[in-house]
């Protein structure tokens, strides 16, 4: 069957694969033919994911992406990759007057430093195939900041910045680099946002003509960016907002 978005024959590494967007993307990628390399801190979550993947040849690695030793081990053991989804991330709701270096470090180390260090290892080990695609999880929050989301916004803006450096430096090998910037997607991460009350959630959702997003919506965008259908797209930020900024 004709399918320009097929990932047949491609191997895609996905971080944050145990939950939310990373999990949905892992499952959807397997359905369109990819072999998935699932990575997450949460070993139990990975074990629950693996049987949900369609097809053969998927593997998983449990470990902390902020630990240099784990990144080395991971890069040595993974097969050559056609795509990397840098999806693992954490949030934070500290208003500016309460920001500490510790809080900055916690968010930056997962959202920004870990993807950079992982890609460095993968590139050194020559594990990213010619024509490969890197997909970064930024956030609409990089541009539209709510109170308390300053550190998070800074981390996601930084992701957009460095994403373009990979696009520029790796284009000679036809490796592409893009980011996705969603607004509100229903996942576990939202339950860690203690700045929004139940009543407020309803108000928030009312601002989205197309409702809150689902992890599937982001998964489909990622599949497009991993597929050969997007071979002319690099250095771009894809915004997804359910029509809430019209």
């Amino acid at each position: 069957m004709y399918n320009p978005y097929s990932l047949d024959g491609k191997t895609i590494l996905i971080t944050g694969a145990a939950s939310g967007i990373g999990k949905a993307t892992s499952i959807e990628c397997s359905k369109v033919g990819a072999k998935v390399v699932a990575v997450d801190l949460n070993a139990e979550g990975l074990n629950a994911l693996m049987p949900q993947l369609e097809g053969e040849g998927h593997i998983s690695f449990a470990g902390n992406l902020c630990a240099e030793g784990f990144l080395k081990e991971l890069s040595e053991q993974v097969p050559p990759l056609d795509g990397v989804f840098l999806c693992a991330g954490v949030s934070d709701t500290t208003p500016v007057k309460f920001i500490t270096e510790e809080k900055i470090d916690r968010v930056m180390s997962v959202n920004l430093v870990a993807p950079i260090m992982m890609l460095k290892q993968l590139l050194i080990m020559k594990k990213i195939n010619k024509g490969g695609s890197l997909v970064w999880m930024s956030s609409y929050g990089a541009e539209k900041v709510e109170p308390g989301l300053g550190i998070y916004a800074a981390s996601k803006s930084a992701v957009n910045g460095i994403m373009r450096a990979y696009a520029k430096e790796l284009i000679a090998r036809k490796i592409r680099s893009n980011s996705i910037m969603p607004m509100m997607i229903r996942t576990e991460l939202l339950s860690t946002l203690n700045n929004i009350s139940d009543k407020n959630w309803e108000k928030q959702e009312a601002m989205y003509p197309l409702g809150f997003g689902s992890p599937l919506d982001v998964a489909y965008a990622a599949i497009y960016l991993f597929s050969d259908a997007s071979r002319w797209i690099t250095g771009t930020q894809i915004k997804m907002d359910g029509g809430s900024n019209l």
Partner: protein, 78 residues
């Protein structure tokens, strides 16, 4: 838990309101400069000073400083 100290910390989240103007009975939402940012700051203060995480629901249902004080008191053993 020291009431005076709590009111002092609460007041520090405002720019133009002094601790002397506040009591446990004060309806903080009626204070002119009250805002969602100050609400978030009160929550951050409770985390920093008392190690207590207030949920957004708890914060939204609180009206008097005593409401917040009592939640923190119930959740802490300080």
């Amino acid at each position: 838990m020291d009431e005076k100290q709590f009111i002092q910390y609460f007041a520090e989240q405002f720019d133009e309101t002094d601790a002397s103007q506040l009591t446990l009975d004060t309806k903080f939402r009626d204070i002119d400069e009250w805002s969602s940012v100050i609400a978030l700051s009160v929550m951050a203060m409770c985390a920093e000073e008392y190690d207590v995480i207030l949920s957004a629901n708890e914060m939204e249902n609180a009206n008097r400083i005593s409401d917040v004080y009592n939640i923190v008191k119930a959740k802490t053993n300080k």
